[in-house]
Symmetry: D2
Subunit: 381 residues, 4 copies
């Protein structure tokens, strides 16, 4: 493919080293090189979520598989609290609705997150509470740390979907007392899609057993033995792992450690703020309210999103369309995850300016870029 | 990794062109290049199973995910018939046992398949009957065509697991009247693991609906819309597809079409027979009985399998250990799927001879290779 | 390597498809796939220089090898005219000085080209006249077309070094009556370094013979038979060709044909003008005078070039240092060749602004980017 | 390309890790990553020829470029002794004939090497004596160590062409008192073609100066400064180096160190002897006499070489045709260099048997393989 810049919410632009780490034509799931890479990736994920004593899992599938694997902790008629800030918060409801569960559901309007007050007022006890760290549909970031503090009183198991956050936002599962966090390989980790990564607290792991609502493929109780074996340098088989994605992930975690997780999060912040400064300069409205802006996804209101998207595409930048029903056809999403840097932000803002100009917006040349540069000048980036 | 020859049951040795087709660092699930590759792969799979009017699916996961997705056709208390010839036949039972289903189960001893007579004697009617084309645990091939003819009378939906067979064995889903056939990317298709491919008859597709035992991730009713959209050249999202594996699959199907599916199956046969001739020459017993030998997997009885496996490994050949409980620690498995040719068979038989010699078997030099060459000489291969 | 943007004068940023086309682990110089790729690349080069009746050559080496191969047309004491606009023009002198030749040498000051008047005034006759289309050391473009028209009267063989121009600048060797044009794989063609490509007029080819000043490796008389054979679909050996670079080149020419050579040249112009508009906006002086600016290289005066270069490097952009002795330590060079687009220009100008700010230049945020955007707005790019 | 086995004399089968090390789309010749890789490769080459105090060079071109660069040590009318055992020995004559030199030339018949006695009888003194370690045209190995001992008395500079030997045959340049040894990237080092590697004794390096017969491109006096700079971790430019080949070479040397040079040479010996045992078993004659067989190339007499070659090709094995005029159309060459192992030998001998059978030779199945296995059984390989 041509040198198009992928500013999408996932898959995202992949580092070439990460990509070519998967160029292995003779690795089986029992090959020592795979076992080594898998172990490295498992531990790399714990580093990334700052939770060395958690148990790491890598499953063969997307982030949604990780979500559904939470059924491994649930039994018929269990109560579950869903805190939804958008489409991917709602996905919890869509998933759990296929099971025999009692669901309570809090929902925020687009661009905002459920208020902590609302959670504090809950009197009921739940087997599980689930939330979304960054809502991919709007770029809204939720205060997982504070929410977990409150939820600890009303829920046995606390789950945070970190699909659109982990390695781009700070996540300290252990310290924040979140039992389960997870992401997918193709988001801020910047590898090809195909693997879901979870970190689970020792307490939650100890509660896994054979009797649960989970199916076969997503049964964490069964997968636990596989991960234990790998961490002990021994191959094991449940269903075939995504061998090549794991090689790429191992390389990604090597680069993440080299960069440092905090440096990586800071880089995500700088790129996000660069793009948002440009957007402000261009006079466009950002969907997420001021307290909710994330390092990884920015949703932008625009009158004719498909024209905007195809305009950017013709300028070699691919962004994502909107998916929130309430804002249907009124916004777009820009992903800024993985291996991006300020160069990509500059390219994106420059292209946005020119597309808006072509769309007859009243834009003066450099209007958005000036604001982006101001942000960068002021912070010496 | 070094030039070790992977003679495994999956993942298998991958063609370099297939592998490097996945070297794309800027493809999203909505990128036109992905939509094109996905459509190509979907149609390529139909070509491979000779069923142009079936509906193709590619799911993000392993072959087991395809198995479990059969719950999309099932409702609580449905009756299911499982025809098991080994570990992967039993996997059906393990999967369906997690659901509220009435299960009947026929089982063959290792090395043999369930007899057609036994099936003919069944009087009951089933919502679904499932079988395994080639049993990966023993290399036993089942006569899917004949079985389907019988099962048609007693089952609404007929399913054949072609994970270890498709593109290495003849499979004519449409003509044989099998409703669902599936495989996984890392078997005879010779791509990296991460995608499950299904072809489903129009009749079965029309029975998919929102009320089923399936979960969310493996719900074929939901996936149907995605596949329909892709086949219509439009991107669509349910959960993130394995983008890079699909690029590799598209290239694999391009090569499969170039080779011709029947030529490809014949090549699998020749490699299989070459290896088996060598094994016969070496005086080892093959697990599969004469009527059950497959083109893709050969299981071999051996006294000290781990010594045999590590001996071959030291000679740069990786094979698989045995998994059938009844034969535990008494056999090994050789996979011969994908892109292998006679050169690989010769290397394997040569190495087996030398390992047996080292293990103090009474082997004369060339004893197995001679028989392999006789087979090849006699057939002008 | 990290996602650093290579804005160098060669090697340049390589398209991933071009790069991965070289991922072939089993191609020999006699393999049919290589012969096919080599033939495709040879013809692709003729397309690129719009000279279908010329004879193409690909030699195993850099552009300098192509320069020195001009000795294949020369005999002891031949007269040669060198038109030099900088370091790479002077390279002709350095090369020819190692041979028994009579050299006349015209030289322009940095940032300018030798005047056509000066050439018109020459009364002498030469065996060969050589010039440089784009002088890599300063980015100065020479009017090869007009010069060739004048030189035709005083030189048997007219040679234009297109190393830093071909596929980024218009080059019509045949129409302009230039006998020999050449480039190297790692410049505007955007492949890895390792191949020199030449196109030679039928008249000049007919003058090649075994008696010349050339050595063995660079003897075009010997290489002629190899190219003839390849063009006739037959493998041939003189010394080992750069097999993998040729696979990449074949893919590059495929992309060049798809883009169209004139579109490609226009894209180079737009990127060059974008960067130069930004530089103007930043108040920096461009080395090349107004009539001499090229599409491929821009040299910029700067007080502390090494600080500027390392500043950009820390912002993930790599440019080249200056090499002209007269301007030593007073300028830098930006390469904009191959597969770049406006996104790269925006990234570069943004980074330059920030580096100058850090270097205490009096720069207002967006000052350079504004001018770049004006250029783009005005031309609807 | 398909999984064809390349048993050629160069380029040879490339290890996938070595190949993918060159997948770098943003490395310039001044990039720190390149400088690091180049330095690593330079030192890796010294390890390979066991001469840590020699000066290493990597030039952008094939092995022939290294040969011609010997003119850097020569002045007009110097005397040179050429010891030729075949086509590539004769290449020295073809090269030096283009220069003003006094050439003495010793030549052995095909399959044999020049006798040491003949060299001992020489009374003349030479500026340079050149020989070929393994003659690629016939697979004949020359006793470089003994020859160097004799030549030291009659030649200032002793040169051994190790193109078809280094890393496959023992070469101790320093201990054997050979001043210059060289190879090319695509031979036993197993990387893509495009780089020539030389190691030169300190004494010889000290004699390099600006006045020599060399041209510009191959002038070692100029290249010396570049290599010195790189070894001092500083980038430097003379002409563009083969950046991507150097990345591959660096990876190759990493693997070579990991394997150990003596283990690597032994592996070459085992593969060579395996193939030759098979050839003996098949009743074919090997061109090289018993004292001259090399670890890297085996030439085999055959009546209809083109039929034999295309027969093997149809069985997915590519070998090389013969090139010695005296044996024209009467033999073929099998290369066994780089990353091959016994598996490749078994595949080759199996295929040869079958091709000979098809060519109506009187071959019994397994006849050659038996002898190969006997060799391997007897030595516990």
């Amino acid at each position: 493919m041509s040198r198009r810049l992928l500013m999408h919410v996932g898959p995202v632009t992949i580092d070439n080293d990460v990509l070519s780490a998967g160029l292995v034509n003779n690795a089986g799931f029992a090959s020592p090189e795979f076992v080594e890479a898998m172990k490295y990736a498992l531990n790399g994920f714990l580093y990334t979520v700052k939770s060395g004593n958690y148990m790491p899992f890598i499953l063969p599938g997307s982030g949604t598989l990780a979500m559904e694997s939470m059924t491994s902790f649930l039994k018929p008629n269990d109560s579950v609290l869903i805190i939804s800030n958008g489409v991917f918060g709602d996905r919890w409801k869509n998933i759990f609705s296929r099971y025999n569960l009692n669901i309570d559901y809090l929902k925020a309007p687009p661009g905002r997150a459920v208020s902590l007050n609302e959670i504090e007022n809950i009197k009921k006890h739940y087997r599980m509470a689930v939330m979304t760290h960054v809502e991919t549909s709007t770029g809204v970031r939720f205060d997982v740390k504070s929410a977990a503090g409150i939820l600890r009183n009303i829920s046995d198991i606390i789950v945070a979907d970190g699909v659109a956050s982990i390695s781009g936002e700070n996540m300290e599962a252990d310290k924040w007392d979140v039992d389960v966090v997870f992401t997918a390989s193709q988001k801020a980790l910047g590898a090809p899609p195909g693997a879901a990564l979870l970190a689970i607290s020792p307490e939650a792991v100890s509660e896994l057993n054979d009797v649960s609502l989970s199916g076969f493929y997503n049964n964490l109780y069964a997968w636990k033995d596989i991960m234990t074996s790998i961490l002990d340098n021994k191959s094991a088989y449940y269903t075939t792992p995504p061998v090549h994605i794991v090689f790429s992930l191992a390389r990604a975690f090597e680069l993440i450690k080299k960069e440092g997780i905090d440096e990586r999060i800071k880089r995500h912040y700088i790129v996000a703020e660069s793009i948002r400064s440009g957007i402000d300069g261009l006079g466009l409205e950002i969907v997420a309210g001021d307290d909710y802006k994330s390092n990884t996804v920015t949703a932008v209101m625009i009158d004719n999103p498909s024209e905007f998207i195809s305009g950017l595409y013709s300028k070699n930048i691919e962004i994502a369309s909107g998916v929130v029903p309430e804002l249907k056809d009124r916004y777009v999403r820009i992903g800024h995850m993985g291996w991006l840097n300020i160069n990509d932000a500059a390219a994106t803002v420059s292209a946005m300016e020119r597309v808006l100009h072509e769309m007859k917006y009243n834009i003066s040349p450099g209007q958005g870029l000036k604001r982006m540069q101001e942000f960068l000048f002021n912070n010496n980036y």
